[in-house]
């Protein structure tokens, strides 16, 4: 009986405590830097696309919402011909970001992407590509990769030795 009265009194006191409600449109929720929201494609510091069209994101995607087609430019640099994410299917699990070997695909803290028309949730490459390096500034895949794709020559990378002359390896 006493505990009931105490419960009622303590509940009454909650009238004067601070409310936890965030009045959304006026007051925004604090989103942390690693919050998994809208998916973007980032660029390297030189302004080139990071995506190399390896299909790992599309393979990792549990709901199969990513579609792309890889192609090559005249220097042999791979890039996606088209890159399509269907956000009406996306579950924002972040597996694509984990799978990406070149830090190209990233999830950013933004969730305000409501649409009246479902078709508008299908984002093409021009919608996904942003003019930023995202969470990994200064990273350029082709600077550390062992191939020549017009960014640097073979063996000219920072932690890379010059190519071995295979003829000198003969016994």
């Amino acid at each position: 009986m006493i505990s009931h009265v105490r419960t009622i009194w303590l509940t009454f006191l909650h009238l004067f405590t601070k409310k936890v409600t965030i009045e959304y449109p006026e007051e925004k929720v604090k989103l942390h830097p690693r919050w998994r929201g809208r998916i973007v494609l980032t660029k390297d510091p030189d302004g080139g696309e990071r995506c190399v069209g390896c299909y790992l994101c599309a393979a990792a995607c549990p709901v199969d919402c990513i579609a792309l087609q890889a192609t090559e430019d005249e220097n042999g640099r791979r890039y996606p011909e088209f890159f399509r994410i269907n956000f009406s299917r996306c579950i924002f699990c972040g597996f694509c970001e984990e799978a990406c070997p070149t830090y190209a695909i990233q999830l950013i803290p933004d969730f305000e992407m409501g649409e009246y028309n479902r078709q508008n949730l299908v984002f093409e490459k021009e919608d996904l590509l942003i003019n930023s390096e995202g969470k990994y500034p200064g990273y350029n895949f082709y600077k550390v990769a062992g191939i020549n794709a017009g960014v640097k020559g073979k063996g000219e990378g920072e932690q890379e030795e010059a190519p071995v002359d295979i003829h000198s390896l003969l016994p």
């Binding site: 009931h4 419960t7 009622i8 303590l10 509940t11 009454f12 909650h14 009238l15 405590t17 601070k18 409310k19 936890v20 409600t21 009045e23």
Partner: protein, 317 residues
């Protein structure tokens, strides 16, 4: 009082009551939210008061479905009974010295009769729905009502003994020097507990306990029929609050302010307490509720009756 005046009073009481019942939708949701550290509906209109309009419109536009397996006519009548009987109970409540629809000399008995009749709506609604959850809810409602009706009446008999009248205006007048909440504290507590059970409000919402019985007796109801049960519940809260005010807290009596305002303030305080109870207390188990009623409250109220009677006799000599 002329006939015209009488009609005005009836219409006025009806208007105020229905508005209070509707307004309680907003009050309850706002207060519950505040007690749960939320803000509650605050978008539509000033402080969100237009949520009442939105809710009512929503209820009107919902599909008013009568299940094919239901007993159609009883199904339709059931929600009307609760609103009808509760509104009839308000007939005897004196809001201010001359504002009362009918100051019956058996007022208290009329109130008890009408509030017991309200259980028909639960039982018939639960029966006509032809649904096991609704039936269980209706059964629980009936047994709860029988159990709590007994000492609801008995808890008021102490007051009747001290006043010597069933007439509510006499009961209010008898509290001029001292409110009955001081003379009859046990009666007050028991009456209020029985009142909560009578309106089947939380924590005694056993007939509709949504975690066990879907929605209990009104599982099958939708649209405005469900709305009637809802309005009936809010009217019931208002009724029990108004009765508690009248019988134990001096009704319209109070200094400075006009009598009707005193009545309104006191009633509103009890309505708030009803909502606070909903926010704070968990629902007891069905058997606990019954045990509590028959084994604790009934002996308590009988004892109260005995002692009050003895003292009343002793004072009169």
């Amino acid at each position: 009082m002329t006939v015209m005046q009488h009609i005005w009073i009836v219409l006025g009481v009806l208007f105020v009551l229905l508005n209070i019942a509707a307004g309680l939708i907003w009050v309850e949701r706002r207060m519950l939210a505040l007690w749960q550290d939320r803000l509650g509906p605050n978008r539509a209109g000033p402080f969100g008061i237009l949520i009442v309009l939105a809710d009512t419109l929503k209820l009107f536009f919902k599909e008013d479905w009568i299940p094919p397996f239901a007993d159609k006519w009883i199904f339709i009548t059931a929600p009307a009974i609760v609103v009808g009987t509760v509104l009839l109970s308000f007939v005897i409540i004196p809001f201010a010295p001359n504002i009362v629809v009918a100051d019956l000399n058996i007022g208290l008995l009329f109130f008890l009769a009408m509030s017991s009749l309200a259980v028909y709506s639960i039982v018939l609604g639960g029966w006509a729905s032809n649904n096991k959850y609704a039936l269980l809810g209706g059964m629980r409602g009936a047994s709860q009502m029988i159990a709590y009706e007994v000492f609801m009446g008995l808890s008021l008999m102490g007051v009747v003994m001290l006043t010597g009248s069933f007439k509510l205006s006499d009961i209010v007048a008898a509290q001029k020097d001292m409110w009955f909440c001081i003379k009859q504290p046990v009666g007050l507590v028991v009456f209020f507990i029985a009142g909560i059970a009578e309106t089947h409000r939380l924590p005694f919402d056993i007939p509709e306990s949504e975690s066990e019985l879907v929605a209990g007796y009104h599982s099958e109801y939708s649209g405005m029929k469900f709305g009637m049960f809802f309005i009936g519940e809010y009217l019931g809260i208002t009724l029990i609050s108004a009765m508690t005010t009248t019988i134990f807290f001096g009704g319209w009596l109070g200094p400075f302010l006009p009598p009707w305002l005193w009545f309104f303030i006191k009633t509103f305080a009890f309505i708030m307490f009803f909502i606070l109870l909903r926010a704070s207390l968990p629902r007891p188990r069905y058997d606990q509720l019954m045990e509590y009623g028959w084994k604790l409250l009934l002996p308590l109220v009988l004892l109260n009756l005995l002692i009050t009677g003895a003292i009343a006799l002793w004072i009169r000599g």
